[in-house]
C-alpha cells in the first residue's frame, strides 16, 4: 500500500495517464470547437459574440475548482503532512492561474461589445482579480523560499485564507448589484440557457478540464523529477 503511493510508482502512472489524455484530447477538442463555433446557434440578443462564452465560462469554473482543490489539499497537508499533497497543490497552481487569466481576459473582450466597456470594478470581476492575486502569491512563495517546509507552510496558509474568496466570487452576483449577470446554470432549478447552447458549453468544459489535467500531470511529473534529482545530489 505504501509502495503504491511512492513517487516512482506514481511517476509510471502519470506517464500512462498523459499518453491516454494525449490520445483523445485533440479529437475531442476538434469536436467541441466545431460545436461551439459552427453548429451552435447565435444568441437572440448578442449574435455571434455569445461564442466567447464557450471559453469564458469553463475557464472561470476550472479556475474556481482548481483553487478549491489547492485549498482543500493544503488543509489536509497542513494537518496530516502528506508528502504527495504538497506536490499536487504546487502542480495545480500554474494552470489554475492561467485559467483565471483566460476568464478575466475573455470576459473583458466579451464585455466591450455587450456591456460597452472593457472593465468594470464590480464585485464579481474584482473578486476574480483577488483570486488571481492569491494564485500569484501562492506560486511566488515557492520561488522565494528555498526551504521546502517553510514555503509549504506559508503557501498553505495563503491558500486556506484564499478559500474564503471562493463563495464570495460565486455569490457576488446575488448579494450585490453588479454589472455581471447572475448565473445561467443552476445546480438546483432550471437553467436559463437553451439546450442547443448548453451542450457545446458542457463539451468545451470537458475538453478544457482534460487540458487542465494534462498540464497538471506534466507539472506533477517535473516536480517528482526535481525531488528525485535533489535526493541524488544528497548522496554525491
Amino acid at each position: 500500500m505504501i509502495n503504491f503511493f511512492s513517487n516512482s510508482n506514481i511517476f509510471t502512472w502519470i506517464e500512462k495517464l498523459i499518453n491516454f489524455v494525449n490520445s483523445i484530447f485533440f479529437v475531442l477538442l476538434l469536436v467541441a470547437l466545431s460545436f461551439a463555433l459552427i453548429f451552435s446557434p447565435p444568441d437572440y440578443l448578442q449574435g455571434d459574440s455569445v461564442r466567447i462564452m464557450y471559453v469564458h465560462v469553463p475557464a472561470a469554473w476550472i479556475s474556481l475548482a482548481s483553487f478549491t482543490c489547492i485549498a482543500v489539499f493544503s488543509i489536509l497537508n497542513f494537518i496530516f503532512k502528506i508528502k504527495n499533497l504538497k506536490l499536487i497543490t504546487r502542480s495545480i497552481a500554474p494552470i489554475g492561474l492561467m485559467f483565471t487569466c483566460i476568464a478575466i481576459i475573455t470576459g473583458s473582450i466579451w464585455g466591450r461589445p455587450t456591456w460597452g466597456t472593457f472593465w468594470a470594478w464590480d464585485a464579481r470581476i474584482t473578486s476574480m482579480v483577488v483570486m488571481a492575486l492569491f494564485y500569484f502569491i501562492f506560486i511566488v512563495i515557492h520561488k522565494f523560499f528555498q526551504e521546502d517546509d517553510k514555503a509549504n507552510k506559508i503557501s498553505s496558509i495563503v491558500a486556506i485564507i484564499g478559500l474564503i474568496n471562493i463563495p464570495i466570487i460565486k455569490y457576488s452576483v446575488d448579494w450585490w448589484s453588479t454589472l455581471h449577470q447572475p448565473a445561467s446554470i443552476k445546480i438546483t432549478g432550471t437553467s436559463t440557457i437553451h439546450s442547443s447552447m448548453l451542450v457545446p458549453l458542457l463539451l468545451m468544459f470537458f475538453v478544457l478540464i482534460l487540458y487542465c489535467a494534462l498540464i497538471f500531470l506534466m507539472k506533477y511529473k517535473t516536480e517528482i523529477i526535481r525531488i528525485k534529482s535533489k535526493n541524488l545530489k544528497r548522496y554525491d
Binding site: 440578443l45 496530516f80 448589484s177
Partner: protein, 142 residues
C-alpha cells in the same frame, strides 16, 4: 484517535479560518454600500444627502416606450418598477442597449428626478437562446 500534534494543528487551523471569515465578513459589511456597482432609482429617492457634483451610477431597466432620440441626444427613463429617473445622454451606446433591458448609466444627478449620463453600459440578463426560439416565443405571446 488523532495524535496530539495533529489535534493542535486542527485547532490552529480552525481558529485561523474562523477569525479570517469573521474579519472578512466585517470588512464586507462595512463596505456594503460601496460594493454596490450602481444605485437603483429607489436608493436615490431615499438617500437624503446626495452629492450632486460626484459621479454616480444609476441602474435599472429602460422603461418601455420611453426611449427618444433627438439629434444627438438620447432620452429614456430608468425604472426599478417602483421609482423612476429621467436620463439624458449624448454618445455611443452598447449593442445590447434596448427598451425593457437592463442598463447602468454613469454620470451626475442634476436633481433627484433628472440624471445626465456620460457613459451608458448595458447590463444583460442570464437568458441565452437562439433567435428562432425567441421568434416563436414572441408569436406565442401574441
Amino acid at each position: 484517535m488523532l495524535p496530539k500534534k495533529v489535534k493542535k494543528r486542527v485547532s490552529l487551523l480552525a481558529v485561523l479560518l474562523f477569525t479570517s471569515v469573521v474579519g472578512i465578513f466585517l470588512i464586507l459589511n462595512a463596505l456594503n454600500k460601496n460594493i454596490l456597482y450602481f444605485n437603483s432609482p429607489t436608493d436615490i429617492k431615499i438617500n437624503q444627502n446626495i452629492n450632486f457634483d460626484k459621479k454616480i451610477r444609476v441602474g435599472g431597466m429602460v422603461k418601455k416606450n420611453t426611449l427618444k432620440i433627438k439629434d444627438q441626444e438620447i432620452r429614456f427613463i430608468i425604472t426599478d418598477l417602483k421609482n423612476e429617473i429621467n436620463v439624458s445622454f449624448k454618445g455611443t451606446i452598447p449593442n445590447l442597449f434596448a427598451e425593457g433591458k437592463g442598463v447602468v448609466a454613469e454620470g451626475k444627478l442634476r436633481d433627484k428626478k433628472f440624471f445626465i449620463a456620460d457613459r451608458i453600459l448595458a447590463k444583460h440578463d442570464e437568458n441565452y437562446m437562439p433567435p428562432e426560439l425567441k421568434n416563436i416565443m414572441k408569436e406565442n405571446a401574441k
